[in-house]
Amino acid sequence: MNTILYIIQKEFKQIFRNKGMLPIISILPLLQLLILSNAATFEIKNITFSYIDKDQTTLSRALIEKFDASTYFHVITDFPSIKEANAAMAKGEVDVILEIPRYFERDLSNQQDTDLSVTINAIDGAAAGVQNSYINQIVKDFDKKAKILMLPPSDPLNKPKNIESIPSSWFNITLDYKTFMVPGILVLLVSMITLFLSGMNIVREKEIGTLEQMNVTPIKKHQFIIGKLFPFWVIGFVLLTIGLIIAKVVFNTPMIGSLWLIYFYTAIYLLVILGMGLYISNFTDTQQQAMFIAWFFIVIFILMSGLFTPIESMPYWAQILTEFNPIKYFVEIMRMVMLKGSGFVDIIPLLVKTIVYAIIMNGLAVWSYKKTN
């Protein structure tokens, strides 16, 4: 026990004496949370909108005004013909082209069908889908109002009837993407920094030659590993705390569930990440190698965590792969507890998986650390 304390004491001294380390631990996560939470948005805004108005009537202009009034569309210009519009699309100057046919107003007032042509830049398919639905919404809304305008007011029976669905959003009432992103990004920064720091730790001693000295001492494997893990475990909590404070103060993220539950889960989750880091550290020879491997895993973990793309829409094999992704578990827990207010019982299945994972990773870390070659 005493031996472990001596190792922990030494590790903390070294961490805080390393001039590059303090900013990594304190400032970087702060920046990451502030920048990413504001920038990584799913909302599609500032769509560059252009149109070809072949009708040039009150009604066609009213439609364009509607687009102009919307906060999503940024109406830049009208093109005389589809040819110029297409050229602008090819150059990437516009995202959407709306073509209003001739006799648009006349057909509508005669109760005839008329078609609007919409061209969307669909390089980003998801964004194009969202843009399409915005456009449809505006057109539908316009259609309804146009009908009322054009129909004789004396005929109440003829008043158009519509079915409307009224959504009610649970757990994130204002549909604020930050509420959704902040807990996830907080998970990322806690995971990334603890993985990198622990991944480079033992291998650093290998590089400077002190690991050999350690191996000649009667230090026990578990003492060494625990002594090495503990400081980073504490740093993980510090990061989480800083992050939660920023989430509350800056983003006003709801925290419905128990924070204790989050801390409890983090205690176990960090063991997974640290075990992984030390395992990487054990089978690499330089900090550079360790960094590359840690990077490789963290990128996969982040992209497959469900933070940026929903896991439900991944192919089946990818969904199975995400079962091995600790970050996915943590993101899920954070959202469950913070946004839905889930309690201990709700998180048991995820908790059990995390515990098993922690046991395996730390088992591997202890096993792969060999004092004798």
């Binding site: 005493n2 001596y6 190792i7 001294k13 400077i208 002190t210 050999e212 000295q213 009667p218 004092k371």
Partner: protein, 244 residues
Amino acid sequence: MTDTNVIQVENLTKKFGDFVAVNAITFEVKKGEIFGFLGANGAGKTTAMKMLIGISKPTSGNAKVAGFDVFTNSEDIKKNIGYMSQKFALYDDLTVKENITFFGGIYGLSRKKIEEKRQLLVEELGLQNIVNELVGSLPLGWKQKISFSVALLHEPKIVFLDEPTGGVDPITRRQFWEMIYKASNNGTTVFVTTHYMDEAEYCDRVSIMVEGRIEALDTPKKLKEQFKVNSMNDVFLKLARNIE
């Protein structure tokens, strides 16, 4: 008199694939002896030493260090030996004091004992002014002397020194050897590798490794007689030339 042998090695061999790094070496080291372990670069000295200190598993043969078997009790060996490696082995980013505390601590010394040892060490080496300096900021000579003292902190039966005076000035080397003699007088066995042949003359007995084998083993005086030369340097050159 086998019970006075603190190191006993028989046919110890280490192979890396087809390459035989250490080829069936046999020797013993007596308690309190200064045993010089010589050889050219790549002769297998470091590999042999690593087997004795329990961080490399031998391929075959037998060896006992401080009464413990290198195959089965390497962790018990580690409690009874001190080691100072070729690469500098204290933590550069800790102070002298912190290094002493840390190494004392992991060898299981009590706080009180560590404090005592530290005061003794500071006095003996005259470290009063640098005890709170980072080790990384000290000159190599100081580092090596402190490193040796730290290796002796837990009063080991045997201390292994792997080229301890490499790159150190002659005065510091002299002081270093005075420290070695002192440790030896206190009953600590010293197992030392070196490239300096004048240092070989200071050893009680010397073995010379050539291509994984021990080609010569005796006191410096007898080796010089045996090879009919005046210095250890010539003994070494004669042996090394034989293989060419």
